[in-house]
Point group: C2
Chain length 360, copies 2
């Protein structure tokens, strides 16, 4: 038996308004006038001075707005890295991601690929990264993905949707300012929050679970219930708490794994470009046989917040398209082993997944 | 408003038997043949090959057994640092603490004082440490203090009992192996576990609390109730869970503070040498007016485990001795402010503390 030596985020700041301290935090990390800080910012904040006026640009620092209609691709990371190499004479002092899971994952991946040769797709998998990343900072503006604390960055490559999982992936610094989540649209708030909820259900019901992951998962689960089913929280309290649920939910994966919903949602994402949060919801809604209590509670949350999920998204797919999705999902072996156990292949056949996808 | 940028333990490993991986973890950190690893080990493990045979000594590595009858003193740290400087031609590759709060705090303090000039007493306080510490590893063998995760190391100096609180204090690596706690005597298990319980009560009822600290504190509190009042856990589950409670309880202090029990327990420790765990229990037993629900539950736990606390420990003290204790306790201003609020001096007078101490 060998245990993982989990790398934690080195520094974390929490508080409403703590975003104002970003400059003070990163200034000592500046490597020189030619070594800029690169800010990747969710383009929803473009032209929003409430946020952008608090980013202080010096020397060659640059803001790059990131569209978040699609999830990050390995080719996109390679392009972003090339842009930096061509534009600047020195390596950046730091990469700062301000946004949701997409933007945070881009910041992580770019910071890794600036110090590691080759293409991003070469590093999809577990522990393939050789060199420490550039100093990188994560500032979530929506809660749920756990990207701010995880040791992965999920990318869609030419062959698969899979993370760069490594000890160099986690952020060196995270700023948790729940105020930044105040304008998230309700649907997106629900879908991304449910990513956290599903993390908890999959982690707590997985065969990999130990007391470390359990304690984080239970706390995140409890907060999700309070936020999505309770009636006693002010808006600000709910923002604060959901940001902590995301954090603890991410930590819960340290010694655990996600499960059925994530594996199948990756299939939807790979083939149809369905984003992870809503994809998780679409899949999870049909997983009673695997997570009966979790799905029951999910349906209550969905009803309480009047969330209507798309239906019949796989109805018109060709056989070959279904096969692609099924193969992406089946390739995520650790997820299935965690969810079902060592004998998962007896239960999770291509036919079984086809039936499930056709319900969605 | 300015928020703290909290330094987290860089690496954490959790699991029963994970202690076996110590050598594999630290080997890459060796600086050379003349730069030893120094192991501070609780002397309760002297002659216990179950533990010591798994410490692999190479080159000039050395085990130093630490008696734990008394809590660490600044003069003791200075002596340990001098011993290392005199014995070895190079700075150690790392300092490894294997034990409870006393041993962990010694490991932290020695690793700081090897790279910072002067005496340990000069650094008692907040953010006085200038240089990064030597690589240091914490391996708790009893659960509750939170020393494995905190940014302090509590020392008794010539003038006061106060921590070296700094960003360089936290361990670079922690190994959480609950199996190491299997032979802790019952009284000590209770006293140290109650240190965690009291952390939670003081943090959750303090004015400094935010959602970050609250989420950790609530989880630790819940586990304490399960371990000390529940009947459903196996011995191993209880060991695993209490180790996580200690961890989360320590994290809860990140944005919070301890309170009345800790302030008064430091007074007892300073004057009478009463150790922190039992000291907290003796004090907390009399704090109904500050923490009514917490004290009620504490008394239930005490009864369930047939714990009998010493009584009348202050009955025969001279006035001057009482004054010393009272002054040590009153000097811990952040603790009182957290517990009572900004106007704490109106309520917590020397006379009030004298009355409380005389009950104990």
């Amino acid at each position: 038996m060998s245990f993982k030596n989990f790398p934690m985020v080195s520094r974390v700041m929490f508080g409403r308004g703590s975003f104002n301290q970003l400059d003070e935090i990163i200034t000592p990390k500046r490597q020189g006038r030619e070594a800029p800080f690169i800010y990747y910012v969710d383009d929803v904040f473009k032209g929003n001075p409430w946020l952008t006026s608090r980013i202080s640009l010096s020397y060659k620092d640059k803001i790059i707005y990131v569209p978040t209609k699609e999830e990050p691709k390995t080719s996109q990371i390679d392009q972003l890295v090339e842009d930096i190499i061509l534009e600047f004479s020195e390596r950046p002092s730091g990469i700062i991601g301000i946004g949701g899971g997409i933007v945070l994952d881009i910041a992580k991946a770019v910071s890794i690929m600036l110090t590691n040769e080759g293409e991003a797709k070469d590093y999809q998998g577990w522990d393939l990264v050789k060199n420490p990343a550039i100093y990188h900072v994560g500032i979530p503006t929506i809660s749920g993905t756990g990207a701010e604390v995880s040791r992965t960055t999920i990318l869609t490559g030419p062959d698969r949707k899979l993370g760069i999982n490594s000890d160099y992936t986690p952020f060196d610094q995270v700023i948790l300012d729940p105020e930044l989540t105040k304008d998230v649209p309700k649907d997106q708030w629900f879908y991304t929050g449910m990513d956290c909820y599903v993390h908890c259900i999959e982690s707590l019901n997985g065969s990999y679970l130990n007391s470390f992951s359990q304690s984080y998962g239970e706390k995140a689960f409890e907060i999700c219930k309070e936020v999505f089913l309770g009636d006693n929280l002010s808006e600000e309290e709910a923002q604060d708490k959901l940001m902590m649920a995301s954090w603890h939910g991410g930590m819960s994966i340290a010694y655990s794994q996600v499960g059925v919903a994530h594996a199948m949602s990756y299939g939807l994402g790979y083939l149809l470009g369905i984003k992870h949060g809503i994809g998780n919801c679409i899949v999870f809604d049909h997983l009673e046989e695997f997570y009966p209590d979790g799905v029951k509670l999910f349906k209550e949350m969905k009803a309480k917040h009047n969330i209507v999920l798309p239906k019949g998204i796989c109805a018109n797919l060709e056989e070959e398209e279904l096969d692609i999705m099924i193969n992406v999902a089946l390739s995520l072996e650790p997820l299935w082993e965690n969810a079902i156990g060592k004998n998962w292949k007896d239960i999770i056949t291509p036919q079984k997944l086809k039936e499930l996808y056709l319900k969605m």
